[in-house]
Amino acid sequence: MATETDHTNPAVDGSELIRFDQVTKRFGSNTVLDNLDFSVSSGKHVTLIGPSGSGKTTILRLLMTLIKPDEGTIKVDGDYLTHEDRAGKLVPAGEKHTREVRKKIGMVFQQFNLFPNMRVLRNITEAPVNVLGLSKDEAETRARELLDLVGLGDKCDAYPTQLSGGQQQRVAIARALAMRPQVMLLDEVTSALDPELVAGVLDVLRDIAHTTDITMLCVTHEMNFARDISDDVLMFDSGRVIESGPPEKIFTEPEHERTREFLSAVL
């Protein structure tokens, strides 16, 4: 199964946006990903499920270049992420190359990771102004629109610590969107929230999934949410995709015994 490359729906014409090619990642002697192949087509919403420790976060962190693969290559929108093609030879990429490719990727973290020293508005405008080169006015106008989108239009001047967890996470979503990424990585974005705040965040994400063409790669334990937004669900176990398919199939008639076990444990 590990060598099978196309786990997304080939019937949709979206080009390949993310591609893992024989990616191996180890932490010490612990091989977390072992020659992993998988790809995500442009515009798709792909959800990774699987038991804790199976390597889901590792995949997102590799894409965000927070960690580097030990072997194999990752391509984003046709460009190598951590390598450069120099006259036909693959060499480790410089920081500049990696940053350019990475600009296409946005990420929302489990712990929000807003900048506590900045007000909400500046959290959102900081990168568009300093990385994309938007004017301050332009960036602020967009930031306000995005805050309206996540239902926090009145919180521009608040500091993150003055907001609830759910509100902070919605600001973090707006902050990621402000960079106009082609793909959003969402790593258990509701896991750190009090139960009553989860729905608000998921609603915002559903809204984004249904009204934009941003590609989403999502790790979640919220199975109803996964069912609503996913085109494809990948079931991970021990760093391998053991089963994949549309949510209707994975959630109702999983083929693999491990998938059944996992689903019965979380559903």
């Binding site: 990475r102 990771n113 900048f115 020293n117 300093n130 990385v131």
Partner: protein, 216 residues
């Protein structure tokens, strides 16, 4: 021997002049120590070990050599390299450099205290390294360490009389000169001691207040 108010009164203007020099040396030394310490602390975090290692070695070396030795080194050796500064400037450089190795540790603790998620969020937003430092990491790190930095200002104040050994005429030198000319020692030295307490004690109270306000 008894306290002579006339001697005390006569010494007061001289004490004032010495005090200004003491404060000047402390203030300039602090500015240098704060700035250089920040440079060291950021270098400790450099992705290149050819920056990290030499800086760590030099900082360690300076911290473990007495300030007095550094003071004499700068005073006697720099001129042989045709680098000539006034005694006060030389003193400020030695004081600032020496204490920068302590402030570097303070900054380091502050920087280490910024959660890893902040660096990761900055990476996820593609912020440059410089921007990550300036906009994200340092504002959070420095806020935590202001009180600890303040304590080093007080330490520098108390070390500043050492500058007299290379000819900086600070409060203590003024007291010595007064003693030498009038043979009255109690008044000038007592007054210098009091002057130090009068500055240092409120300063440390201020630091503690800052600590309470900024610390979480």
């Amino acid at each position: 021997m008894s306290w002579n108010w006339d001697v005390a009164k006569d010494f007061l203007p001289e004490l004032g002049k010495g005090l200004l020099i003491t404060l000047e040396a402390t203030a300039l030394g602090s500015v240098l120590a704060f700035a250089l310490g920040l440079v060291w602390a950021m270098a400790f975090r450099s992705p290149t070990r050819f920056v990290r290692w030499p800086v760590a070695a030099v900082v360690e070396f300076i911290r473990n050599t007495p300030l007095l030795v550094q003071l004499f080194f700068f005073y006697y050796v720099l001129p042989t390299w045709d680098i000539k500064f006034s005694a006060l400037t030389t003193g400020v450089i030695a004081l600032g450099l020496h204490y920068s190795t302590y402030t570097a540790e303070v900054y380091r603790a502050g920087i280490d205290g910024v959660p890893k998620g902040q660096w990761e969020a900055a990476t996820a937003l593609s912020l440059s390294r410089g921007r990550t430092w300036i906009a994200v990491i340092l504002p959070q790190a420095i806020r935590r360490v202001v009180p600890a930095l303040g304590n080093y200002v007080i330490a520098m104040l108390k070390d500043s009389p050492m500058l007299a050994l290379i000819g900086v005429v600070d409060m203590l030198q003024k007291a010595r000169a007064e003693g030498a000319s009038s043979f009255q020692y109690i008044e000038p030295y007592t007054m210098v001691g009091i002057a130090f307490i009068v500055i240092a004690y409120p300063a440390s109270l201020l630091m503690r207040a800052l600590e309470r306000r900024l610390g979480h």
